[in-house]
Symmetry: C2
DNA sequence: TAGTCTTGATTACAGCCGTAGTCAATGGCC
DNA sequence: GGCCATTGACTACGGCTGTAATCAAGACTA
């Protein structure tokens, strides 16, 4: 698992289905994406090829076709994308981001409880 | 203040200095960006022009030059970018995002307290 | 065996992005 | 009044993105 390169919006959709279950063939991916992304299978193929080229997916030959599989963990990509997002929008500081999202998200009671519990256990900085 | 269009990474840097203080001329913006963004003033001009074209900045003539000023609030842009980010990475659900960032950010005692307080007051969904 | 379906490879193409360069007008300095 | 610095307008250009189309080769089918 190597460091994640930049993954575009459309590519994220593809990666999400592959993180969820892998390996999958191109057409299985297209099918899994299904109605949500109104793409032809041509388009899905293109995205898969780009992701392979970027090193985010790896392939294994299965007869004449490929089985696609993540080569970078979801966690690593989420973390990288998160850092970039926080840097861009919140100038690198996570706390305003948390305030922003805590304030404006609708959370279930369970989610609120869990967040509070994690915060409670959290080691303060400095 | 209209709905925010897509703002690129470099454009965010420009917008941040203008949200912080406005109006500013192009060269003031370039100066405020200063060493952080190693751009020529040509580049800053281009970015300003693009932002004006997108409607994120408005201009006012001041003699032969422009004074640039945000036409969209920072809050609106942050919210839009946040929605897009959550959709892309967390499949639209804010709670995993919060868990992710709460777990991996280093927060001061005060920040932790504030988050807990906000969570406490928060109305659960459903 | 000839046609058809599937699948990867290659190519397309417009629009956005990062990063400028060039040009022309304008205002200030000498 | 003429030259220089500043500034906006326009142009550039390669790379990434979204969204495919075309091509070619193997696999399946009648």
């Amino acid at each position: 698992m190597k460091a994640p390169p930049r993954i575009s919006e459309a590519e994220w959709k593809v990666m999400r289905v592959l993180w969820e279950e892998h390996p999958r063939t191109a057409s299985q991916v297209a099918q899994a994406l299904g109605p949500q992304a109104a793409w032809t299978d041509r388009t899905v193929k293109t995205l898969l090829a780009r992701l392979v080229k970027k090193g985010v997916l790896s392939t294994e030959s299965d007869g004449k076709r490929y089985l696609y599989e993540p080569a970078v963990s979801r966690e690593a990509c989420v973390a990288a994308e998160g850092r970039s997002f926080v840097a861009r929008v919140f100038d690198g500081s996570a706390s305003p981001l948390l305030l922003h999202f805590v304030k404006r998200s609708r959370l279930t009671r369970g989610e609120i409880e869990e967040l509070r519990r994690i915060l409670e256990e959290k080691e303060p900085r400095g």
